[in-house]
């Protein structure tokens, strides 16, 4: 492993591990490998691990009595943690309908960016987006890879209700609202796919380290997939990375 990590006690029951502060796929891979190894080796004393771009927050079952010995245990796990092949990641195709009825802000977005809707859809569906972590709302994916031509400041006044499944752009990011929520991003499309299901284990089928691609679908296809998802007969397309 090549990074100089900082270990710091965060609360009576938590230790923070920090990588250099930047958004970088190599750091992400290292973060996730370490997270996996900790989960395997310290299963009993750790209740949860939050991962972000460059951090792990490790939460223990009880008050940490000797932080130095915990940190040295973590260091030795880091030194021996596996190679990238241990991460089983997928590329998911997320169907998105960009038609007017389901994309309330798309026309104004395109007008202000001086793009046609077709140009917009081409730019939005071209990249393979990297899933860095899940935060903000249960099942909300932090994605990297939005084309700079589509960067656009958030709304001055957030909407009180953005519908579940809304595909949106805010600042340099694009994301999918996994549940109804207030939100200040521009809604440019909608997916029928359920990103968070409390009855599924794990509740998110997309994991940090995975990648996604948006695939444009018609309103009719949206309805068709929506029905299949409700019946439990829809299989999302994915390939192993």
């Amino acid at each position: 492993m090549t990074y100089e990590l900082k270990y710091k006690q965060y609360s009576e029951r938590a230790i923070l591990v920090a990588w250099p502060s930047r958004i970088d796929k190599n750091i992400l891979e290292d973060v996730l490998l370490f997270k996996n190894s900790i989960k395997i080796k310290k299963d009993k004393v750790i209740v949860q691990i939050t991962s972000t771009y460059n951090s792990l927050l490790i939460f223990y079952t009880s008050t940490i009595k000797d932080v130095y010995s915990e940190i040295s245990a973590l260091r030795s796990i880091y030194e021996t943690c596996g190679v990238a092949e241990n991460l089983q990641n997928h590329l998911w195709e997320i169907p998105v309908c960009y038609e007017d009825e389901l994309s309330p802000d798309l026309l104004s977005f395109c007008n202000q960016k001086k793009l046609s809707v077709d140009e917009f859809v081409a730019l939005h569906t071209a990249p393979t987006y990297q899933v860095y972590f899940i935060g903000f709302l249960p099942g909300f994916l932090y994605l990297g890879g939005l084309d700079p031509k589509l960067h656009f400041p958030r709304k001055q006044t957030p909407n009180l209700k953005v519908e579940k499944g809304s595909v949106a752009i805010g600042g340099q990011q694009t994301g999918i609202y996994p549940s109804n929520s207030p939100g200040g991003w521009h809604v440019v499309g909608k997916t029928p796919v359920e990103l968070f299901d409390k009855d599924r284990r794990p509740p998110c089928f997309i994991q940090p380290g995975d990648q996604i691609k948006y695939v444009a679908i018609s309103l009719e296809q949206y309805g068709d997939i929506f029905t299949k998802i409700k019946k439990g007969t829809y299989d999302l397309k994915s390939v192993k990375l």
Binding site: R13, A18, K35, I49, T50, T52, F136, P138
Partner: protein
């Protein structure tokens, strides 16, 4: 036997809470749990319940509850002025109520959260290993008029989990014990000093997600790349407002994390009314 309580009046953000939902922060699921876990655990201890048994929590404005079956309950936190069938009764930490009884409360002005514990705990469904209400996770985010809450009358003798007497909160009035947060060192010496010596007032903007403090701190820090946070994390927002994250806080945030409250201090600040002044006292682990 399945017994029930009917919520006649919901009060303000009345919800079922246990010690929280752990194991799902990596999917963006907040921890949740009782705002004042000292009062919540005390309620369970008084009933000889397990420490994670679910209680009913209410906020400032108490609910009115109708018992559809006989029950043994305990009242802690702000629930100090109970009324049974519209008559003021002497406060007793543990009491038995009869089928048909209606329990209500006079609001208590020096605390925020009240707790009603019940023998064996409330039996609303577990979702992701916790009964704590949270929008989009449990069926409802808070109790409404006519919400039915299940409990069971027979003592469950098969449980073997340990019972723990909660530690008494020994903090002085108005003192909130904190540890330095990950970005504390990025503050200038004078900002650090101001943070540790000034008095801060609890603002009106507060919820289960967080509490805003009224006084601002000059802030020239830039944001951080979105990073993990916990209940008790104090964020410094771009306009200098300090926000204390509470039990329903998001799992990640992009503002500098300048302080982290001790676990006891999270309970203390939860119960401190808006308008009260407090000061931070820095501790090391």
């Amino acid at each position: 036997m399945r017994s029930t309580i009917t919520i006649l009046k919901p009060g303000l953000f009345t919800s079922i809470q246990d010690l929280g939902r752990f194991g799902y922060s990596e999917y963006g699921v907040p921890v949740s749990g009782a705002m004042d876990q000292y009062a919540m655990q005390l309620s369970n201890t008084l009933l000889d319940n397990l420490k994670n048994d679910a209680v009913l929590e209410w906020t400032l404005l108490p609910p009115v509850l109708q018992f559809n079956d006989t029950a043994k309950i305990s009242l802690t936190g702000a629930s100090l002025f109970p009324m049974l069938n519209n008559k003021v009764i002497k406060y007793s930490a543990v009491m038995e109520v009869q089928k048909g009884d209606v329990l209500s409360f006079k609001p208590c002005r020096n605390l925020v959260y009240g707790y009603v514990g019940i023998l064996n705990g409330f039996q609303s469904p577990d979702v992701l290993n916790s009964k704590s209400f949270y929008n989009g996770i449990t069926e409802i985010p808070s109790c409404q008029k006519n919400t039915i809450l299940p409990f069971k009358t027979l003592k469950d003798l098969t449980s073997t989990a340990t019972r723990v007497i909660p530690q008494l909160d020994e903090e002085q009035d108005g003192v909130i014990h904190v540890f330095p947060g990950p970005e504390f060192d990025q503050l200038s010496k004078s900002q650090q000093q101001k943070l540790m010596t000034s008095k801060f007032t609890i603002g009106q903007t507060r919820s289960r997600m967080g509490i805003q403090l009224q006084e601002k701190l000059d802030n020239d820090l830039s944001g951080i790349i979105t990073s993990p946070v916990l209940p008790g994390t104090v964020q410094l927002t771009p306009d200098g407002t300090l926000v204390v994250l509470m039990r329903d806080a998001q799992t990640t945030g992009g503002y500098p994390r300048v302080l982290q409250l001790s676990e006891k201090a999270i309970n203390t600040i939860a119960q401190t009314p808006s308008g009260t002044q407090l000061e931070f006292e820095l501790q090391q682990f």
